[in-house]
Each structure stands twice: as structure tokens, then as C-alpha cells.
């Protein structure tokens, strides 16, 4: 094969695309380096260099775990489960109407009610439950109630978002069929929409419950009750061998709740 000067060689991308890609990567690298420098401006590197020694020191204090401490953890564990479960319950109860108001096909008013419902969802979703707890502890005082409400407020956005997406994806024919029989608005929701979203609803709720168990284990760090409270007091007294026990209890709780939620979701979906 003779290749003359004007023979074009096939390339995957045009030179311009090639240039653009390199430019994009270049900017990403430059931005990362810039951010890195900005971030580590005040870092004391002596502390960082010291980290392996600190790690082995803490590791030495963490082991062996103080198993006797386990007996003091049953009550906080029960509290943690209650925070997660009651919080999920509150969140779900509030999320259901919000989801119906936010879904494009069930909202009473596209331009007035829907944006408000979406705003509620966004606000609830953007703020982590630990921050909600921080606020609520300051407002209504430390304790389980603050934790429950924090978990509830955080769950509203999550459940409502997934639920309204499920509502928007339903089969409209069933709705029309029910409406054609002369059903009222409430009857349409009851007979045409609810049966279609019920499996998704249970799946979402259990999924959120599982996440809430994880999150409620640490809410005590800011004073909202549960295992985190014990974690906070063990950390502040530098009782690292108790911290190990708490970590193991948290790990076991998370594994069990994940297993439960996987089983339930398998059963409903």
C-alpha cells in the first residue's frame, strides 16, 4: 500500500477533540493542585509525620477491648434502635403527603404547591442528620427526642424524593381507567396509584431505616442520645479500649440491619 502525502489516516478523534480533552484534563490537574496547596497551607507536617507513631499508640490502647463495658451498652443500643425506628416512622408519615404534592401527576398545583414541596425535599436532603441533631439539641435540649426528630427531618427528603419519582413513573392507563368509572380524587389515589407504588414504598422505607440505624449510632456525639453518647464520653476520657467495644457494637448493629433490610426488600420487590 502506498500512502501519499494527502492520504488521511483514520483517527478515533479529530485533532480539535483531542486538544479539548487534553485541555480539560490539564485544567482538572491544575485545579486539584491549586486546591491541594490551599488546603494544606496550615497543615503542620510534623503532626502528619508523627501519625504512624500515634496510630500504633492508639492501637495499643484500643487493644485488648474492655469487654466488661458491653454491659453498659445495652440501654444505649436500645435507644439507638428507637431513635432510628421512631425517626423513620415520623419521616415516612410526613414524606407521604409531601411526595404526592411534589409528583408532577398528582400535585394540586404545578406552579404553587409543587415548588414548595420540592423546597422541603431539598432542604431536608441537603442537611446531614448530624447537623439537624446539632440544631435540635441546641433548640429542645439534649436527649432522645432531639435524635428522633433529627432522623425524622432528614428522612423526609430522602423518602419523599424517591417516592415522588415512583409516583411519576406509574402507569397512567390505570389512573384513567379508575377515573373513567367516576371515582373521586381520593378514590383514584387509593385504587389506581397506591397499589402501584406500594412495593416501592416499603422498599424505600426499609432502605431508609437501614441508613438511619447507621446514622443514629453517632448522633450522640452532639448530645442526641444513643451509642454516640457513650462514644463521646469514652473519647473524652481517652478510654480507647471502650471505644473499640463501641465500634464493634456499631459494626454488628449495622451488619444486622443491612441483612434485615436486604431480606425485607427481597420479600417486597
Amino acid at each position: 500500500m502506498i500512502s501519499g502525502a494527502d492520504t488521511q489516516i483514520w483517527q478515533f478523534r479529530t485533532p480539535k477533540q483531542h486538544m479539548l480533552r487534553w485541555l480539560g484534563w490539564f485544567w482538572l490537574v491544575a485545579l486539584t493542585v491549586f486546591c491541594w496547596n490551599l488546603m494544606t497551607e496550615d497543615t503542620i507536617w510534623a503532626f502528619v509525620a508523627d501519625a504512624p507513631r500515634q496510630a500504633s499508640d492508639i492501637g495499643g490502647r484500643m487493644l485488648p477491648p474492655r469487654w466488661g463495658y458491653l454491659n453498659q451498652l445495652w440501654q444505649p443500643l436500645w435507644d439507638t434502635l428507637n431513635i432510628a425506628t421512631l425517626g423513620t416512622l415520623i419521616g415516612v408519615i410526613i414524606a407521604i403527603p409531601v411526595a404526592f404534592l411534589a409528583a408532577g401527576n398528582t400535585t394540586p398545583s404545578r406552579y404553587f404547591v409543587r415548588p414548595v414541596a420540592l423546597l422541603i425535599i431539598v432542604t431536608s436532603r441537603s442537611i446531614n442528620s448530624l447537623i439537624w441533631a446539632l440544631l435540635l439539641v441546641a433548640i429542645i435540649g439534649p436527649g432522645l427526642l432531639a435524635g428522633i426528630i433529627a432522623i425524622g427531618l432528614r428522612s423526609i427528603g430522602f423518602v419523599a424524593k424517591l417516592l415522588y419519582e415512583a409516583i411519576e413513573e406509574i402507569d397512567e392507563k390505570q389512573v384513567e381507567a379508575i377515573r373513567a368509572t367516576g371515582a373521586s380524587g381520593a378514590q383514584t389515589i387509593d385504587y389506581a396509584i397506591v397499589p402501584q407504588i406500594l412495593p416501592a414504598f416499603w422498599g424505600i422505607s426499609v432502605f431508609r431505616w437501614d441508613i438511619n440505624i447507621r446514622e443514629s449510632t453517632i448522633l450522640g456525639l452532639v448530645g442526641a442520645g444513643g451509642l454516640g453518647l457513650q462514644l463521646q464520653s469514652s473519647l473524652s476520657t481517652l478510654a480507647w479500649n471502650q471505644v473499640t467495644v463501641i465500634f464493634l457494637v456499631i459494626l454488628a448493629t449495622v451488619i444486622v440491619s443491612e441483612w434485615v433490610s436486604a431480606k425485607v426488600r427481597q420479600a417486597v420487590l
Partner: protein, 242 residues
């Protein structure tokens, strides 16, 4: 059914509430809502700015570092590419990273590396590794094996198979996942400051401790706005890439 009723009664009874304290708090709650509606951007702006810069730089650097580490681990954790010992090793790293939450990792890393955004950067990187490697490995396992076989049949070495058969198939999704993780990392970066790992969470904690609800409201509004911007732009870029 009756079991859940019994549980509910037991659970609700075990919640001790000091209703007087709650009643007193309602007034504070009202002041917080007022603070949220009339945010004060000016008086603590210096602190807020420092916190925000820490959060944002932490978010980007940790996502980039997380992706860089996740790619080899993700390839190692894909059953169709890695030999069994490597597979087991990479999977155990993923399990380790996924089993603890960011806050707990942050507590440990702050104790080791000292206060500040560097510990936060390490925390978010560590958490990103578990998330990204797991999803990347699953994606590689779902790859079209015909393409892999075709490249392999042409006599390609292992890394050539990865580069020419697997990489084009998973690249769009890897970019999508990275952007999604960027979004998550920003949310988390605003929380881990509470345990001393830098970021706007520390500023928020201070503002609430001082009962400066207008400054706290400002920080929350900024967090919500940034989360919105990151979420929408990342979902836009993801759609554009795919």
C-alpha cells in the same frame, strides 16, 4: 402486627422527654427560624469563608485522590480480570472502607493526624475508595465479555485488554460515579468538621454553640445552595457524558 404495636409502646415509653425544656426551646426554635429567614452574611463572614474554602478544597482533592486509588483497586476487585488472591485482597479493602461511616473514620484520623482539613481529606478519600471501587468492580464484571474475548484473541496482553476492551466500556460510568462521589463528599465535608476534621461543619458547630442563629442560618443556606449547584451540574455532566 401486634408485635409492632407492643414494640411501639415499649419504644415510646422508653423515650424520656423533659417537656418543660422542650417548651422553653420552642421560643429558641422560633428564633432559629427567624435567623434562617434573615441570614446574617456579614458578621462571621471571615470564619464562614475559611470553612467553605476548606470544605471545597477537601471535596475536590479527596475525590481526585479517591478516584486515583479506586481504579487499581476496582480492577483488582473485578472477578473477570483479577486472580483470586488479588480479588480477595481488594474486596477486603472495600469491605473495610464501607463498614464504618465517615464520622468514625474522621475521629480516628483526627486523633492520628491532628486537627484540620488534612485529616478530613484522608477521611473522605478513604470513604470514596470503598464506594468507587465497589461500583467500578461491579461495572467491570458487567462488561460485554465478547469484546474482551475479541481483544484477547488478537494476542493482547493483560493491560492491553484492560485498556482497549474494558476501559472504553466503563469510562462513561466511572466519570458519572466520580461526579456523584464529588457530590457526596461535599455533603460529608460539611459534617466531619464537628469532630475536628476541618471544613464548614466546625464553623457551624461554633455558631450554634454561641446561639448565633443568624450566622448558623447563613451557613445552612450556603450549604443547601452549594449542594443544589453540585447536584444539578453533576447530573447535567453525567447526562452529557453518557
Amino acid at each position: 402486627m401486634s408485635g409492632s404495636v407492643v414494640y411501639l409502646i415499649l419504644a415510646i415509653n422508653s423515650v424520656e422527654v423533659d417537656w418543660f425544656r422542650v417548651y422553653e426551646g420552642l421560643e429558641r426554635g422560633w428564633r432559629f427560624i427567624q435567623g434562617f429567614l434573615t441570614p446574617d452574611f456579614s458578621s462571621r463572614w471571615q470564619d464562614i469563608q475559611i470553612g467553605l474554602i476548606e470544605s471545597l478544597t477537601m471535596t475536590l482533592t479527596s475525590t481526585v485522590a479517591g478516584v486515583l486509588v479506586s481504579v487499581p483497586i476496582g480492577i483488582g476487585a473485578a472477578r473477570n480480570l483479577a486472580p483470586a488472591p488479588v480479588y480477595m485482597f481488594c474486596r477486603s479493602i472495600i469491605t473495610l472502607s464501607r463498614s464504618f461511616q465517615e464520622i468514625i473514620i474522621a475521629i480516628l484520623l483526627v486523633a492520628m493526624f491532628g486537627f484540620g482539613p488534612f485529616a478530613g481529606f484522608l477521611t473522605l478519600t478513604f470513604a470514596s475508595i470503598g464506594f468507587l471501587s465497589k461500583l467500578l468492580a461491579e461495572d467491570i464484571e458487567d462488561c460485554d465479555s465478547a469484546q474482551i474475548d475479541a481483544i484477547r484473541a488478537s494476542g493482547a496482553r493483560w493491560w492491553q485488554v484492560v485498556n482497549y476492551a474494558v476501559q472504553p466500556q466503563v469510562m462513561p460510568r466511572l466519570i458519572g460515579l466520580s461526579l456523584y462521589r464529588l457530590d457526596i463528599n461535599f455533603r460529608e465535608s460539611s459534617v466531619i468538621g464537628i469532630v475536628g476534621a476541618g471544613g464548614v461543619g466546625a464553623t457551624l458547630n461554633t455558631a450554634i454553640d454561641r446561639y448565633e442563629y443568624d450566622s448558623a442560618g447563613t451557613i445552612l443556606i450556603i450549604i443547601i445552595a452549594i449542594v443544589l449547584v453540585v447536584e444539578y451540574s453533576s447530573s447535567y455532566i453525567r447526562r452529557w457524558v453518557q
